[in-house]
């Protein structure tokens, strides 16, 4: 009896280790493939937000002169955070459709594929953090111990993004223009998220609706930790946590139901 029990637990331990290795290897594959054969390699990760930063700095810092303190650092924080969210969801459309062989293969739980997408984009996000820290230093901002809350924010963002990546990946199996629709939606969301302006500039009457966007809370929380050196607003944090886990729960349940038919539809 004991022997049997131990074999079973050993088996499941092995299985967990194997799934963990599988996720890790798929993330590594994603990253390698994105930069293999490109001259600048991983530097592309940084060039994209930096180019965006320069354009927006010019438009809103020089031409329109928005009066936001430390505008460069403020803007770059928003761009990186939103960038991880946006690229993860854009790539999530291909998480199932682009991995036909894996989905149809016994022993590969398709539920890991959207996670792999979000995680490989997390790697890019983390790799660009040193640039952000450099920018903060140049702007004369000193990090406080509040920065220790950063991993928590990253974890919450991961849950939120994964929660949305699941339905996106599944819908794209049936509707192959999901990526185009999604691109438009994410572009609109970019403008209703305080990335190049301050949330406080939104008229008071619109604030209740504006505050429904979890990304607004999230971007603000990152800025509290990095720029203002304070802990995020606890009510925001609670709202974010609830929304993120609810999204993950619903998204995952929905995805699992759809997953039974992926192999038939691909």
């Amino acid at each position: 009896m004991t022997l049997r029990a131990s074999t079973v637990s050993w088996r499941s331990f092995e299985r967990w280790a194997q799934v963990r290795d599988l996720i890790r290897e798929l993330i590594a594959r994603d990253i390698k493939l994105r930069y293999r054969g490109s001259l600048l390699g991983i530097a592309w990760t940084l060039l994209n937000p930096l180019a965006e930063l320069l354009v927006l700095l010019f438009v809103f810092g020089t031409v329109l002169r928005l009066d936001v303190p430390n505008f460069g650092a403020y803007l770059f924080t928003g761009l990186l955070v939103y960038g991880w969210f946006q690229t993860s969801l854009n790539f999530a459309t291909g998480a199932i459709v682009g991995n036909r062989e894996l989905v149809r293969r016994p022993g590969v739980p398709s539920v890991i594929l959207p996670i792999v997408t979000v995680a490989s984009n997390l790697v890019h996000f983390v790799l660009s953090l040193p640039i952000l820290f450099g920018l903060l230093m140049v702007s004369g901002i000193h990090l406080t111990s509040a920065v220790l809350a950063l991993p928590l924010l990253i974890a919450i963002q991961f849950v939120l993004t994964a929660g949305l990546a699941y339905p996106v990946a599944a819908i794209h199996v049936w509707f192959r223009d999901t990526q185009h629709v999604l691109r438009v939606v994410l572009q609109l969301l970019f403008y209703v998220t305080p990335i190049f302006y301050e949330a406080s500039s939104v008229p008071a009457g619109l604030q209740p609706i504006y505050r429904l966007n979890p990304m607004a809370h999230l971007v603000d929380a990152y800025r509290a930790v990095l720029l203002r050196g304070e802990l995020p607003n606890p009510r925001s944090l609670l709202f974010l946590t609830l929304v993120s886990f609810a999204a993950l729960l619903v998204g995952l349940m929905w995805f699992r139901r759809a997953a039974d038919r992926f192999a038939d539809e691909l």
């Binding site: 290897e25 493939l33 149809r104 293969r105 016994p106 192959r176 192999a263």
Partner: protein
């Protein structure tokens, strides 16, 4: 010992959609979501049950679209049956679509590591075995080049090598061995035999009877998603081959071998008494035996039994049957095959105006062939009776009778239809004397 895989009453349907079904969100919005629903469902698998015992090799055989691969994937945990259940006790390994998961831009090494993990190993175990994997695949020199520079043979060897460096309890194999060169196939088969010797259960999917016969102890025959027969591999493969006839060139080869053993004279009718469901399996006869076919006679125009007929003569084929139960809309069929297995003639009551509603008890049915326009030679006769819509065979006799057709025996063709020649244009026909012909050929 308890079975490794238990498949119980598994059914799976697929959906067929409306041709105007929206494929994009844009269309869905424009046309409304009503058309999203499937217009019909069709059976991928229908009430299939079987087990794979520990250390047993089981083959699933069937034509394309018979549900073999669907079943294999369901057992592998891809998708879910609509009803029924599949219990798998043990770890699965898979030899499917060799090399399909490889990414062309990654190196051989990177692909091999990922493939190893996909095959159920941890990364550490793959790394431990990498040398052995590479040696078995014989790709040492190219290992760090992108896999797109590998030949397809090298890719397949590498994929196979990775897959066999695992210790699954159950190995799923899907037609992979029909690709690759002979030496590689040999190596694969040896390796699979080793797995089997080590106590691994094997499930092999193939439309190739010979492979199932060689590798498997037992076989399951699927047709249109239904289980047609299951049992010893040799028996099931023979039934399948007899059923498929010349549809598949590989099976035709198999049939030719079988037909060398056709008896010259018709064998005595089988005397085996069977209860419903007990199937006397041999190469001459198969079916559920709800209806049994007794004597089969070839008669000439006068109704006299004959063993030889003149080409172009009328014949009758008389079949005695006995139905043990009420049988609705059975289909009787008869085929005439040349000695080398070519099906020359194949008819059934379904193609005719005679519709059979219900039969019960003993009876006799006759097929009248008004002209047997076959060339001279030796032929054999298959007769059978199938359930409604060809669902399965009640009784099928392979090479029940032999028949000799006499006539002008110089030509090789099958057909000897009545004919005449006529000149309908060009130079006016003129009778040429033999003397003239001689002059022409000598000049």
């Amino acid at each position: 010992m308890k079975p490794m895989v238990v498949v119980t009453n598994v059914s799976k349907t697929f959906r067929r959609y409306h041709p105007d079904r929206p494929a994009t969100i844009q269309e869905a919005v424009a046309k409304g979501l009503r058309r999203m629903r499937s217009v019909e469902r069709f059976w991928g698998l229908r009430d299939v049950s079987f087990t794979i015992g520990a250390g047993k090799a089981v083959g699933i055989i069937g034509a394309n679209g018979s549900g073999k691969s669907t079943l294999l994937r369901l057992i592998g945990g891809v998708g879910r049956p609509d009803s029924g259940r599949i219990d798998v006790h043990g770890t699965l390994g898979a030899l499917l679509d060799l090399g399909a998961g490889f990414h062309p831009d990654l190196t051989g090494r990177e692909n091999a590591i990922l493939a190893g993990i996909l095959n159920g190993l941890t990364r550490r175990k793959v790394l431990e075995r990498l040398d052995s994997i590479v040696a078995f695949a014989e790709v040492e020199k190219a290992l760090d080049n992108p896999i797109r520079t590998f030949s397809s043979g090298m890719q397949m060897r590498l994929a196979f090598s990775v897959a066999v460096h695992t210790e699954p309890d159950i190995l799923l194999i899907d037609e992979v061995l029909s690709v690759g060169d002979i030496a590689f196939q040999r190596k694969c088969l040896d390796r699979i035999a080793q797995f089997k010797a080590a106590g691994c259960s094997i499930l092999l999917v193939s439309h190739e009877g010979s492979m199932v016969q060689d590798l498997c102890d037992e076989a399951v025959w699927l047709s249109g998603g239904r289980l047609m027969a299951q049992g010893g591999a040799t028996d099931v493969v023979r039934q399948y081959a007899a059923h498929m006839g010349v549809g598949d060139p590989l099976l035709t080869e198999a049939k030719i071998e079988d037909e060398s053993s056709y008896p010259a004279a018709s064998p005595p009718p089988p005397t085996v008494r069977t209860t419903h469901g007990e199937v006397p399996l041999n190469e001459q006869r198969f079916g559920s035996m709800e209806l049994t076919i007794g004597a089969v006679r070839v008669l000439d125009a006068a109704g006299q039994p004959v063993a030889e007929v003149e080409s172009g003569e009328a014949i009758q084929i008389e079949i005695d049957y006995a139905a043990t139960a009420r049988i609705v809309a059975p289909i009787f069929c008869a085929r005439i095959l040349r000695e080398d297995g070519v099906v020359c003639y194949d008819v059934s009551t379904q193609d005719s105006t005679l519709s059979l509603s219900t039969i019960e008890g003993p009876g006799r049915i006759a097929l009248h062939i008004d002209r047997l326009d076959l060339n001279s030679g030796r032929y054999v006769l298959d007769v059978g009776c199938y359930a409604q819509d060809w669902a399965y065979a009640y009784d099928y006799h392979v090479a029940e009778c032999s028949l000799v057709v006499r006539g002008d025996g110089r030509r090789e063709a099958v057909l000897n239809a009545p004919h005449r020649w006529e000149i309908k244009g060009g130079t006016a026909p003129r009778v040429v004397t033999p003397a003239e012909l001689d002059v022409r050929s000598s000049s």
